[in-house]
Symmetry: C2
């Protein structure tokens, strides 16, 4: 709901282009730049996946930078789109800065997610879609709504000490006075905080420095523009490395070996990346998408303000 | 020392090929497979960096799979080698399995490091070189030598509970009866253990499944062969995306912005990835490489067993 509102506000206020003309500039057999013309990121991104695949068909690998774009949505969706076409696919984006360095106190880079997907045969696909932080902003917001204290290791306050109160943290982050979510691995180096930060920096270098776009703390919404985030996608044609059918069969073995390993004490099952989401997709296809009443009302309000009626039936209880 | 001994044993016992003939098979404008002919991984890897750069010069991007290889050494060395030639470079390898799944109790995949480097102008380079685990095996060994208890969150024992005793853990891992280092993000999902595991799986898919090599728990030394690990490298030619001089200047800004952010309470400085290593390199170039007496004696013993005298002067105290 927060994102839907954000997209609508950006489009209504002219900070996003409603009629972007995507420009594709092929730079070499395996590389291209895509210009999103300041439109919605999703639109530019699906086009970029196509471009990456066309390049990979020619050169065995395709690398695509996407500049003048905006919020990407779920990076995993684009990686999966490539995998469903049979390509090993990588998709990443920088995001609005809201993460403290592992050894710093200021919000500095984004949650900079990276996604990676590979096709399988009987199994559907391996789909990793992860922020390079301990948690996402969305999870902090959930804790705020529930008035729950944050576990130590998720975020730091504006002095660089562990943040406990989600509300103060979100306010301080919003006002850009300090505090931020921690990189994957947490505060300091003991549990690898420097690794999460390193991954986020890698994402920013690929997306922004390589594409000539704003980076680090400069990535933020302003009064006149959306956060000018940028993306970087890669696609690899399996056939150039080995027989594609053998690859897919080995991916099945790989995913089954993951699923069938004995779980740790207290865990019921072992999952591979993407498996929970595929199971959830199957369930919502059958039962509908569950929405909190609060979320549903929020979407109705966004629709009403723009003359779009949300059908009441969408909120109907699932069939028994 | 442990690795030097390992390499020597593998070479002496015929489990590694002393005279490998590296085969390079260009598969498309941007992709190639390199066959390491069961020799030392380092030798195949530096050749693969060259291949990746040649491909990237043509196609804008180069992707190289390396099979029939062995222990890679430091993945960052190859990423840096590419960056020093002006390319954004990615290097990764799977490793001997010794890591538990975030929700599993058995050792399952390797510490699967990934490295990424990008050139700068006045600054030297950004060089990320990270295992996809909380800590490396080497750190567990240090704690064992010091008889120190492991912090909770580094490893699990053979029942999947937090491991405290480094000695028992190393023995259980060695005997392959269970227990293992934890993925980056730790045990369970609360701090992102599923992300570290996901990165390790991504590495294994790129290195092994894509290259037709052994994966997951099958990656291990045997009586007749070294762990047949495989690698995957990528190189991107900056000029195909934007002006290379502007990129390098922006990399300087990027790295300086990282260095100059205010440190968290208790931290003296903020580092960018690679900075500590460059500073250490400068110091050891001046003062020599510090070695523990124990390590030095071990190297002398390895040399003596093979008729190689280690000069006594190497252990001399540094100049005042």
């Amino acid at each position: 709901m927060r994102l839907t509102e954000h997209y609508c506000n950006m489009l209504a206020g002219g900070r996003l282009n409603r009629n972007p003309q995507i420009k594709v500039d092929i730079r070499a057999a395996g590389s291209a730049m895509v210009d999103g013309d300041d439109g919605l990121g999703h639109y530019a991104a699906y086009r970029a996946v196509e471009v990456g695949i066309e390049l990979a068909q020619q050169a065995g690998v395709g690398a695509v930078g996407i500049a003048h774009s905006s919020h990407l949505g779920a990076a995993g969706a684009y990686a999966l789109a490539g995998a469903e076409r049979g390509f090993v696919t990588f998709a990443t984006t920088n995001t609005d800065s809201m993460v403290a360095l592992f050894d710093g106190a200021a919000r500095f880079h984004g949650t900079n997610p990276l996604a990676f997907a590979a096709p399988a045969d009987q199994e559907r696909a391996f789909v990793l879609d992860m922020s390079t932080t301990v948690v996402t902003r969305g999870k902090i917001e959930v804790y705020d709504r529930l008035s729950k204290e944050l576990p130590e290791g998720w975020a730091v306050d504006k002095t660089g000490r562990p943040a406990h109160d989600p509300h103060t943290l979100l306010e301080d982050m919003g006002a850009r006075v300090g505090g931020g979510i921690l990189p994957l691995g947490g505060l300091g180096e003991d549990f690898g905080g420097h690794k999460g930060y390193g991954l986020a920096a890698m994402v920013d270098i690929l997306c922004a420095v390589l594409c000539g776009a704003p980076f680090l703390s400069s990535v933020a919404d302003t009064a006149t523009s959306s956060a000018r985030v940028s993306h970087f996608f890669g696609a690899v044609q399996v056939e150039r490395f080995r027989d594609a059918a053998a690859f897919r069969q080995d991916m099945d073995h790989f995913l089954r070996e993951l699923r069938q390993t004995p779980p740790a004490e207290g865990e019921e099952r072992v999952y591979f990346a993407g498996q929970k989401e595929f199971e959830c997709e199957a369930e919502t296809a059958r039962l509908g998408v569950p929405l909190l009443a609060q979320e549903y009302d929020g979407l109705c309000a966004i629709g009403a303000a723009r003359g779009v009626a949300v059908p009441r039936s969408a909120a109907a209880p699932p069939p028994a």
